[in-house]
């Protein structure tokens, strides 16, 4: 039920000339096929896409003794932005995730989600350095896709929780920063009055 909005936006950007240029992908006609009807916790992603993206983000910021991308809800940050201010990135995700899914099936004979952690890391290094099979990616840049997901994951992990990620200020806790930043309440420097 979200697709008509997204599609209109995509066409607008195509007309403006920005659409797809950064990643060099996407035709607006193709977007019509992405209509999703089943109810889901996501606004943009299908369940299958989310299942793939969640471990990608977790690779980028994994859980150790502090929360990782999954715990912090990074997927919800990305999903929410893709259906609002990042509409222009929708094709990069949709086509990029699809190509990455196929890449794993071809190279590792397994869905990404089912690979061991170290193998998953390897798979991402492959696209980070543009070394996945070219025929699966066409003229789309693998590294541009990876870099976009990397950047958005960091945003979701470190940005304000009001955008859907950084649940419970996970990243601020991890870095030992006061949270939230209460205006006027964080002005005491260690041992030194200001």
């Amino acid at each position: 039920m979200i697709t008509p909005v997204s599609r209109r936006a995509a066409m607008k950007w195509a007309a403006a000339g920005t659409f797809g240029l950064a990643a060099g992908i996407g035709t607006t006609a193709g977007l019509a096929r992405w209509i999703r009807t089943e109810p889901a916790p996501y606004r943009f992603f299908s369940e299958a896409e989310a299942r793939l993206l969640i471990p990608i983000c977790e690779q980028i910021i994994p859980r150790d003794d502090t929360p990782g991308a999954t715990d912090a809800g990074v997927i919800f940050y990305i999903d929410r932005q893709l259906s609002s201010v990042f509409q222009r990135h929708q094709p990069t995700y949709r086509l990029g995730l699809d190509a990455f899914r196929k890449t794993c099936l071809q190279v590792y004979k397994s869905p990404f989600e089912q690979l061991e952690f170290a193998r998953q890391t390897e798979a991402l290094r492959l696209i980070e350095s543009n070394k996945a099979p070219k025929e699966l990616w066409g003229d789309r840049s693998q590294s541009a896709f990876f870099n976009l997901v990397l950047d958005h994951t960091k945003q979701g992990f470190y940005g304000s929780p009001r955008h859907g990620g950084n649940r419970d200020y996970a990243s601020y806790r991890m870095m030992g920063l006061a949270y939230p930043n209460l205006i006027g309440q964080n002005r005491y420097a260690a041992g030194r009055p200001i």
């Binding site: 920005t18 932005q81 201010v85 990397l150 304000s160 955008h163 870095m175 964080n186 002005r187």
Partner: protein, 552 residues
């Protein structure tokens, strides 16, 4: 339909425009101030890094918005791209009442006397339009002082032997050094350098009815929640409005200055907050829309005598676009230096502005504003992994140990770096948008290289580890950005400048510019205080020429 005529229409309520409004309104002129953005609201005062003017990944909180604004960037290889305000290539400053000075870092630099005489000092530079300013530091000194006192600057130049002469001390004491700066100070002094506190357009003590800074980690990129940071919106504009004859019209986008067949500015056409076309007639017009947008407005104002845009018969409008290459170095200390008391930048070093053999101008070095966690994810020594557990370890281990020295490099103006208007792309109102093209002058890279090496040497001498330089990138890039300047150069020769020494467009007697566009060169310093001083300077000369009901 035309609105009732007023004495002055000013386009843009930013750092420059707000000051002109106050100066002219208090002199008794009736003023209409058109601002495309809105007043900063209470809700805008947050600490949301993704919605800050410094890292506007989700949009610029202080405008302009991604929905209605566009620009076209021309790359080195000739390809072009339409960019949004939230993307780096847009070279945004801001779009709200107060302009860039709502969310800026508030460093309050006077340029040095040499900065006004680059051509005399350094001679001709190949492929550049390097020139002396038509006015000197001494001409501008009283207006710097006025800006420092009316808006409020905290500083102390006791330890700065390089500054130009000043008649009065700063109105407020300097901010104390933070931990990082105390360490840099020790080392730099030992190295024979002259560190001193950065002058700031922020209140170190209560001043002019506004409270003292409460030291948050978020400052640059955000509006000040208590108005300790000064811009025109919380200092001079309230005074202008209290006169009763300055009307600030927000949400109003100027599209054209109407110049009549006798070569006089007659009115400003704009779209009001409801997107209705309006025309505001005036005795005189002042454009203060920032270096990119001022050039665009002039170029979009075509008339019989100026078929290529107002004041553009010599093709100089929009030329010499400058900003600042930002370079420096960063590293890590053994002990934590982070303080939960911002905003961070407190110390400056001006030993590398001027007098360096082989360089033209140089630049200042400062310790930096606190980077918030997302911004910090991009601060990595070369070769450091960008993701995975190593990324987390780095964030945890180094955030509070970071030391940085950075600064703006004096850019050498060149004719090819320019703002023009795009032949096809238009904004939401159908107004042709800015087209940015050209690259920085090669000399900028030499200077940047030099300055970043100095920063590196200081940090290494301090004992910082893993020190890396953020020098100039080897690929020539476009200038502009938040320190955009130079597009309507002032000068005595109408053939090689856009305005005269008082900011008046050559050949259009009642059309003035008062913003960063006037800067002949952009100093090795952040430009806001100079823009403010110029606004006072231009206002002074408008008032001097004002004879009751019209300009002389």
């Amino acid at each position: 339909m035309s609105l009732p005529k007023v004495n002055v229409v000013i386009v843009g309520a930013g750092a420059g425009g707000g000051i002109v409004a106050k100066e002219l309104a208090t002199a008794g002129l009736s003023v209409v101030l058109l601002e495309r953005g809105e007043w900063p609201r209470y809700d805008d005062h947050n600490d949301d890094e993704l919605n800050s003017q410094r890292t506007p990944v989700l949009g610029n909180p202080f405008g302009p918005d991604d929905k209605r604004h566009r620009r076209v960037v021309v790359y080195n290889n000739g390809s072009t791209r339409v960019v949004l305000p939230s993307e780096g290539g847009y070279n945004n400053n801001a779009g709200c009442v107060g302009g860039g000075a709502v969310s800026y870092g508030a460093m309050a630099w006077r340029f040095m006397p040499q900065d006004f005489r680059l051509r005399s000092i350094y001679g001709e530079v190949k492929d550049s339009t390097l020139a002396d300013w038509p006015i000197s530091y001494d001409d501008l000194e009283p207006y710097y002082e006025k800006a420092e006192y009316e808006l409020g600057v905290a500083g102390d130049y006791t330890n700065n032997p390089f500054c130009g002469p000043r008649k009065k001390p700063f109105p407020m004491p300097a901010f104390p050094y933070n931990k990082e700066a105390l360490l840099i100070e020790k080392t730099a002094t030992r190295m024979g350098l002259h560190p001193f506190p950065i002058p700031m357009l922020r209140n170190s003590v209560p001043y002019n009815g506004r409270p003292a800074c409460i030291h948050m980690r978020s400052c640059v990129g955000f509006a000040c929640p208590i108005n300790a940071k000064a811009g025109s919106h919380n200092t001079v504009l309230p005074i202008a409005m209290a006169t009763g004859h300055c009307e600030v019209r927000t949400g109003c986008v100027a599209s054209e200055i109407v110049v009549d067949d006798r070569g006089r500015a007659r009115s400003v056409r704009y779209f009001d907050a409801k997107n209705r076309g309006q025309e505001q007639p005036a005795d005189l017009v002042v454009v203060s829309a920032s270096a990119t947008e001022t050039a665009r407005l002039l170029l979009n104002s075509k008339s019989k005598l100026f078929p290529n845009g107002a004041g553009n018969n010599n093709d100089w409008v929009g030329r010499n676009l400058q900003g600042h290459l930002y370079v420096g170095a960063a590293g890590f200390l053994e002990d934590e230096v982070y303080e939960e008391a911002g905003p961070g930048a407190t110390l400056a070093i001006c030993d590398f502005n001027h007098g360096i053999p082989g360089l033209i101008g140089g630049g200042a070095l400062c310790n930096e504003f606190i980077p918030l966690p997302y911004l910090f994810t991009n601060m990595r020594p070369p070769g450091e992994p960008r993701w995975g557990k190593a990324h987390k370890d780095f964030q945890r281990r180094y955030y509070k140990r970071l030391v940085r020295l950075h600064g703006p490099v004096q850019e050498i103006p060149n004719f090819a770096a320019r703002v023009s208007v795009d032949p096809t792309v238009k904004d939401a109102w159908g107004i042709p948008v800015c087209r940015l093209s050209g690259t920085r002058h090669p000399a900028d890279f030499q200077q940047g290289d030099f300055l970043s090496k100095q920063a590196e040497a200081i940090l290494k001498e301090m004992g910082a580890t893993r020190v890396w330089r953020s020098g100039p990138s080897p690929t020539p890039s476009l200038s502009g950005g938040q320190h955009q300047a130079g597009t309507c150069r002032m000068g005595d020769d109408p053939k090689t400048s856009v305005t005269d020494r008082h900011g008046r467009i050559h050949q259009i007697d009642n059309l003035f510019v008062a913003d960063g566009s006037l800067n002949v060169s952009n100093g090795g310093f952040n430009p806001a205080l100079t823009i403010m001083a110029l606004a006072y300077w231009v206002s002074h000369h408008i008032k001097a020429g004002w004879k009751g009901s019209q300009l002389r």
